[in-house]
């Protein structure tokens, strides 16, 4: 049978596993977070941190100028080579 609550050291160890995930927290963790301010603050720090990390997906680093052109030229060369190969059979 599951324990009603966890100890602080156990919570600190498992927060990186559960914080920010969609799945509900285990009962013991949930109970502890409701009664321990310090661990609850720690859990909030994880959730906020991961929320910001997820928001960083949009590019902070723009693609270098001319990338589209360089890719298109390489693709065109590839296409020409393939068409030539196909014609030769």
């Amino acid at each position: 049978m599951a324990r009603a609550s966890m100890r602080c050291d156990e919570v600190v160890a498992v927060l990186p596993v559960f914080a920010g995930e969609e799945a509900p927290y285990p009962h013991g963790l949930e109970v502890h977070l409701q009664t321990c301010r310090s661990c609850a603050d720690e859990e909030i720090r994880y959730r906020e941190l991961l929320g910001i990390v997820r928001g960083l997906r949009d590019p902070g680093e723009p693609a270098p100028p001319g990338l589209t052109l360089r890719v298109s030229r390489r693709a065109a060369r590839l296409d020409t080579a393939w068409r030539g190969y196909a014609r030769r059979g």
Partner: protein, 186 residues
């Protein structure tokens, strides 16, 4: 600027599949920032990120004819970029950095507290870049690009369990880099 909306629709993909060069160029133009940003986060060098992005697009060009799941295009594109980045790191002899388990490496001191949300993002971005490569890659792919632990494991040649352990360590390391270690019960 690219937002979170769908960047490539079925019509554009159809034109690319029919071999329309202008359509392919448009596809690259629409997705280049996102592709380059992912490549840069994985290889950590601007020049190498461009090589990876170009290689990924050539793979897209070769494979697009057989791709039918329009709604999943961006996920598919991200996987190709990840795969191209892993190939690149292997060729450069840097793949070992991804597999190395740096759990016992010393954690750098926490960053000074940020004053606002934009500064928060900047501090976190820098802390993320300071993570060991294997941890950074796992965290980026899982948290930002939505790959599952199984998918990440497939790309990195690790078991799903090993990826989960790495992900949890990366979260902990990042949190410690920002806020320091937990002040109680450690």
């Amino acid at each position: 600027m690219e937002g979170s909306k769908t960047l490539v629709d079925g019509e554009l993909l159809g034109a690319c599949r029919r071999g329309d060069p202008a359509a392919f160029e448009e596809l690259v133009a629409r997705t280049q920032h996102r592709v380059y940003a992912l490549a840069y986060r994985l290889v950590g060098d601007r020049g190498e990120a461009e090589d990876v992005a170009q290689e990924a697009y050539l793979r897209v060009f070769r494979s697009l004819g057989g791709f039918r799941e329009e709604s999943r295009f961006e996920t598919w594109l991200h996987r190709i970029v990840v795969n191209a980045a892993m190939t690149h790191l292997r060729r450069r002899g840097r793949f070992g950095d991804l597999l190395r388990d740096p759990a016992t490496d010393p954690v750098p001191p926490p960053a000074p507290p940020a004053q606002d949300r934009a500064a928060d993002r900047d501090v976190i971005r820098r802390a993320l870049e300071g993570l060991p490569q294997g941890m950074r890659t796992t965290l980026v792919l899982y948290e930002m690009y939505g790959l599952s632990c199984r998918e990440i494991g497939r790309e990195m040649g690790l078991s799903e369990g090993a990826v989960k352990v790495r992900l949890h360590r990366a979260r902990k390391r990042l949190k410690e880099a920002i806020h320091g270690a937990s002040e109680h019960a450690v």
